[in-house]
C-alpha cells in the first residue's frame, strides 16, 4: 500500500499569542512549532497500515524551511520519504490554493491512500483533505478513527456526533481525514532519527507546481485578540483564599451546595 500523509507544522499549543505588526497573524518570534495533533494520528495510522500490509509512507507538507524539522521527525518515526512544498508565503493562498499545491505535488504518485488530520490546530479550517479529494477526483471520508483493508478498498470507522459511529466502505484510491485519539502515538527511536537523515526529501516550489497562483476567493483580513468582555469574576488571593471564596459563592449565590 502506498500511502501519502499530508502533515502541517503548527505553533505549540501553549505558544504565547501576540498579534504581529501587520495584524494578519501571530508574532512567530520565540514561537515553538510542532506537528499538528490530528496529523500525528494520520501518520500513526499510515505507519500501522504499512506494518500490516507493506508498502510505502510518503510525508507531504507545505510551508517555509522550518517545516523541514517536522518532516524529519515524521521520517524518524518511520515514514520512507517526503515531499516538501517550500513556500514562505502560504498565507497568500486560501484553503483551495493550498490544496491545489498539495494535489499537484502528489498527483503523479498514484498513491492508494492519502491521509491527513481532521483539522489544523492553528487555522482550524478542517477542509484541506476534503478539498484534496475533490481536486484529485477521489472518494473520501472524514473524521476517521480506524482503517481496515477489504477486497477492492477499505472499510473505515467514522465518528458521528453525540457518541455515534458508522462504518463506511470506499474503494481505493481514497482520501481520509483522521480524527485524533484512536491509537497511541509512537516516539522516534534513536535508530529512526539516525536513518531519517539519509531519507529523501524532495523540495518543490509553488511555481514549479502551478504555472500561476490563482487569486484567493477567501481572504483573512485581520486577526485580533478576543474582546475581553469578561463577565467572569476572578477570585484572587492564595489558593486557599480563592477556594474559600468560591465555596461561599457556590453556597450563597448559586445555592448549589
Amino acid at each position: 500500500m502506498k500511502i501519502i500523509v499530508a502533515i502541517k507544522q503548527v505553533p505549540e499549543r501553549d505558544a504565547r499569542i501576540r498579534v504581529d505588526a501587520a495584524g494578519k497573524w501571530i508574532d512567530l518570534q520565540d514561537v515553538e512549532f510542532t506537528l499538528n495533533e490530528s496529523d500525528a494520528y494520520a501518520l500513526e495510522e499510515a505507519l500501522q497500515l504499512k506494518e500490516a500490509h507493506g508498502g510505502e509512507v510518503i510525508v507531504l507538507s507545505a510551508g517555509p524551511e522550518r517545516v523541514g524539522k517536522t518532516i524529519r521527525e515524521a521520517l524518524a518515526k518511520g515514514a520512507d520519504r517526503a515531499i516538501h512544498v517550500e513556500s514562505d508565503d502560504l498565507a497568500a493562498y486560501d484553503a483551495l490554493g493550498v490544496a491545489q499545491l498539495l494535489a499537484a505535488a502528489v498527483r503523479d504518485e498514484d498513491a492508494d491512500l492519502i491521509l491527513t488530520g481532521l483539522q489544523s490546530d492553528d487555522l482550524g479550517l478542517g477542509q484541506t483533505g476534503v478539498i484534496l479529494a475533490e481536486l484529485l477526483a477521489l472518494p473520501h471520508a472524514s473524521l476517521i478513527l480506524k482503517i481496515e483493508a477489504v477486497p477492492g478498498g477499505i472499510k473505515v470507522l467514522r465518528e458521528l456526533e453525540d457518541g455515534w459511529f458508522q462504518h463506511v466502505e470506499l474503494p481505493t484510491p481514497a482520501v481520509l481525514t483522521i480524527q485524533s485519539g484512536n491509537s497511541k502515538l509512537r516516539y522516534a527511536t534513536l535508530m529512526g532519527i539516525k536513518r531519517a537523515k539519509t531519507k529523501e526529501v524532495r523540495r518543490v516550489t509553488p511555481l514549479e507546481l502551478a504555472a500561476k497562483p490563482e487569486a484567493p476567493v477567501v481572504v483573512l483580513e485581520r486577526v485580533l485578540l478576543p474582546n475581553k468582555q469578561r463577565t467572569s469574576q476572578i477570585l484572587g488571593g492564595s489558593p486557599a483564599e480563592a477556594a474559600a471564596a468560591l465555596v461561599e459563592k457556590l453556597r450563597f449565590e448559586v445555592r448549589a451546595l
Binding site: 490544496a99 472524514s142 465518528e159 476567493v217 485581520r222 468582555q229 474559600a244 465555596v247
Partner: protein
C-alpha cells in the same frame, strides 16, 4: 427561477426526525446576512415533500422551502449530497450558501464549494454587515488557535459565498408569519457515482453515565497532565457530590471512559454548576457545556478562552487550587 445573486440559501439538517437546533441558528444567521444586504432567504432540506417536518419550519418565514427528494439521498453520502446540492445551487443561484457547522457538513461542504471554485468559510461565529452600505461585503468572524484568536474574513470574487455557522453563535429567530412556497427539487443522481457505502450508525457502548442528570459536574482537561493526577479531581467531585466529566483529550488518552466526555463529539450538558479544571475552552468543548447555569474555571492561563464563558474564575495552578477547594468544601460540610 430566481434572479441571480439575490438570495441566501440555507441547507437545514434533520437529526432525530427533527430539524436540528443548529439548523435554526444557521437560518437566523442567514436572515442577519439577508437583512444587511436586502436579500431573500430560501431554505432546503433533504426530505420528501409530504414529510410532516416541513410543517415545523418556523422562525422568520423563508421565501421558498425546497424539499430535496431522491431515493439515493436516504442515507447520507458525500457524493450524493454534493451532487444534489450543487444542482440546487445552480438552479437557485444564491449569493450566499449557509450551512450549520455539523460533522456531516464538514464531510461534504468543502467538496461542494470547490466545485464552484469557492472556499467554505467554516465555523463562522459572527457576521458583520455594514448598515446603510449593502454593497459592502460582510465580514465573517471565526476563531483560530482553539479560540485564542479571532479572525475577520472576506469573500472576494463573483461566485456564491459558502459559510458554515458554529453552534450557539446565533440565536434562533422567534416565529413570524409570512408567505412561504414549498417546492420539490428532484436532483438527477446516478447510483454508480456514489462511491462510498455507509452502514447504519451505531452507538459504541450503552452509555452508563448520564452526565445530563448531574447537578454538579467536575470536568477535567489537558491541564491535569497525567492519569496519575486524576485522583485530585475525583476527590473534589466526591466532596461536591458531583459526577466527573472530561474534555476530549482525557478520553482520547483512555484516562476516563468516552461516556464522560463533554463537547461536540461527546455529551451536551447543562448542570447547575460546571467546574472546568485545566480546560482551555476550545469551541468544541464550549458548545457542550455553555448552557450550564454556573460555570467555574480553574486554569493557570489567564487568557484561556474558558474564562470568557465562566461566571467565576480562579487563575492558578490546579495542583494547588483543586486540593484547596476540596478542603474548603469538606470544611464547609463539617
Amino acid at each position: 427561477m430566481s434572479n441571480a445573486m439575490s438570495s441566501v440559501l440555507v441547507f437545514l439538517e434533520i437529526k432525530n426526525r427533527e430539524i436540528s437546533r443548529i439548523s435554526w441558528e444557521a437560518m437566523a444567521a442567514a436572515h442577519t446576512l439577508a437583512e444587511g444586504h436586502g436579500l431573500s432567504v430560501d431554505v432546503a432540506l433533504v426530505a420528501s415533500p409530504g414529510n410532516p417536518i416541513f410543517a415545523t419550519i418556523h422562525g422568520k418565514a423563508p421565501r421558498t422551502v425546497y424539499a430535496i427528494d431522491h431515493s439515493l439521498l436516504h442515507d447520507y453520502t458525500a457524493d450524493g449530497y454534493t451532487a444534489a446540492y450543487a444542482q440546487l445551487i445552480q438552479q437557485v443561484s444564491p449569493s450566499y450558501v449557509v450551512f450549520p457547522h455539523t460533522y456531516q457538513v464538514r464531510d461534504f461542504a468543502p467538496c461542494l464549494a470547490t466545485r464552484f471554485k469557492q472556499v467554505l468559510i467554516s465555523d463562522v461565529t459572527g457576521i458583520e454587515t455594514h448598515a446603510g452600505a449593502a454593497s459592502v461585503a460582510p465580514t465573517f468572524i471565526r476563531q483560530l488557535l482553539q479560540g485564542k484568536l479571532n479572525a475577520q474574513y472576506h469573500h472576494r470574487g463573483t461566485g456564491p459565498c459558502f459559510l458554515s455557522i458554529q453552534a450557539g453563535a446565533f440565536r434562533a429567530d422567534a416565529a413570524e408569519a409570512g408567505a412561504t412556497t414549498l417546492a420539490t427539487f428532484e436532483p438527477r443522481l446516478d447510483a454508480a457515482k456514489i462511491r462510498t457505502k455507509p452502514s447504519e450508525p451505531f452507538r459504541a457502548s450503552a452509555q452508563t453515565v448520564d452526565l445530563s442528570s448531574a447537578s454538579i459536574l467536575v470536568s477535567v482537561g489537558r491541564g491535569i497532565r497525567e492519569e496519575a493526577n486524576l485522583p485530585i479531581v475525583q476527590e473534589l467531585a466526591t466532596a461536591l457530590g458531583a459526577e466527573l466529566a472530561a474534555s476530549r483529550p482525557i478520553c482520547d488518552n483512555g484516562w476516563l471512559p468516552m461516556d464522560r466526555q463533554v463537547g461536540s463529539s461527546g455529551q451536551t450538558v447543562a448542570p447547575k454548576v460546571y467546574l472546568a479544571i485545566g480546560i482551555s475552552g476550545a469551541i468544541q468543548h464550549l458548545v457542550g457545556m455553555k448552557g450550564s447555569q454556573c460555570i467555574v474555571a480553574i486554569n493557570k492561563d489567564e487568557n484561556a478562552p474558558i474564562f470568557e464563558v465562566a461566571d467565576y474564575g480562579i487563575v492558578g495552578d490546579l495542583f494547588d487550587v483543586v486540593p484547596a477547594l476540596t478542603a474548603a468544601v469538606l470544611k464547609g460540610k463539617g
